[in-house]
């Protein structure tokens, strides 16, 4: 009984989370009728994450370019720098790093906000005013996460490859030919890479938003409960992102 209980508790948690997801999905049509609420949430999870995404994207692109150049130049293949940066970003680092940052920046805020609303009886209060908190509070935040993530991934990738990251270091600083930087990317990258990137971004967005609203909604209504919900949102969604990334990559690999 005692050593089985973590297992049964884990299974119960998973079951609750899945049922909760169904509840959210059922609440989505009603939430879509209130675009203002979704807009507000896109602002707080998307627009407010923009700066951290732009800055990290640029730095990661820059580091990749420096590292890649050092290796490639030994083979006289410095002109392939663009490909190296673009493929690593679009296929892996873009979606994964954006998702990890999103979990830290937006996911934790989401869990803390909902947890606090619960702890201060705001959710119960809504229910007693005959307003369904799933439709009014949870679903808009869930949708916003789903919409914002692929957009953030794209912005991150573009920053890393083109605007300030790899391009700035590779072309402006290390003198890789601008034309070959892009034309090599051109040859190596396909539309399917971009599509896969967007799929990854959307799936990660779903996972993080789901975990965050679940943790917040089921937090113990105390300050300790809220802090635990916030922490486990970041931990669980980071692990989920990495595991999902493996599964998705395996599928996309053919």
């Amino acid at each position: 009984m005692n050593f089985l209980s973590p297992l049964t508790e884990g299974l119960r948690g998973l079951g609750r989370a899945v049922l909760f997801l169904f509840t959210i999905l059922a609440g989505i049509p009603a939430a879509l009728l209130r675009p203002r609420l979704i807009l507000q949430q896109i602002y707080s999870v998307g627009v407010l994450s923009l700066i951290i995404i732009v800055i990290s994207g640029s730095f990661i692109g820059m580091v990749l370019a420096l590292q890649g150049y050092r290796t490639l130049v030994n083979f006289g293949a410095a002109s392939s720098l663009g490909v190296l940066v673009a493929l690593s970003i679009v296929r892996e680092l873009g979606p994964v790093v954006t998702a990890l940052l999103f979990a830290g920046r937006a996911g934790s805020a989401l869990a803390a906000e909902i947890g606090l609303m619960k702890a201060t009886d705001q959710l119960s209060g809504m229910e007693m005013m005959a307003v369904d908190p799933i439709k009014r509070v949870i679903a808009p935040r869930f949708i916003a996460g789903l919409v914002a993530m692929p957009l953030l991934v794209s912005i991150f990738s573009l920053m890393a490859i083109g605007v300030a990251g790899g391009h700035a270091i590779g072309v402006e600083l290390l003198g890789v030919d601008d034309g070959s930087y892009w034309s090599q990317i051109n040859q190596a990258m396909h539309g399917t890479d971009i599509r896969d990137m967007l799929i990854k971004g959307t799936v990660f967005g779903l996972a993080i938003s789901w975990i965050a609203v679940y943790q917040g909604y089921h937090a113990a209504p105390t300050s300790e409960g809220v802090s635990r919900a916030t922490t486990s949102t970041v931990v669980v969604s980071s692990l989920a992102v990495l595991a999902l990334d493996f599964v998705l990559t395996a599928f996309m690999f053919h």
């Binding site: 627009v47 002109s79 912005i155 034309g179």
Partner: protein, 170 residues
Amino acid sequence: MPSRSLELLVGFFVSLGIAAVFVLTFRVASLDSVGDSGSSYRITAKFENTGSLARGASVKMSGVRIGRVRDIGIDPETFQAVVTMEIDGARNNIPADSNLKILTAGLLGEQYVGVEAGGDPEPLKDGSVVTFTQSALVLENLIGQMLTSFTQKEPKAAQPAEPAAAAPAP
């Protein structure tokens, strides 16, 4: 938060994201301009073989980039490759009889079009067709040629030896 600025910021964010998708999808190179001068003109050339030349590859003259490859197609009659290039408008005095070669940057580098200036006083203009071209070096063909030249040489080397060996016999 006033509703107008909220809408504005979200609109900005969403359009930024969509623009990023768009730029990534069309892979930047094929959409951006050729040179600094802003204007440009297009010329075409036919090659027997373009190797791994790709859209967006550089067009260089004496090592300096003067344009981009815009399109690569097939001539439906001659089955030759037709390469369309966009040349920087500032380079408007390239002789019409210039020679175009598909070259490789370094041993493993990407391929580009090299321009060797000719002597014609008439310059290339928009829509000009360059006639003097040299195809890409395809490694397999090169090796194939080397092998055939070896196999051709061996019998030749053996033949003179035969009469020499036979000569003392009679």
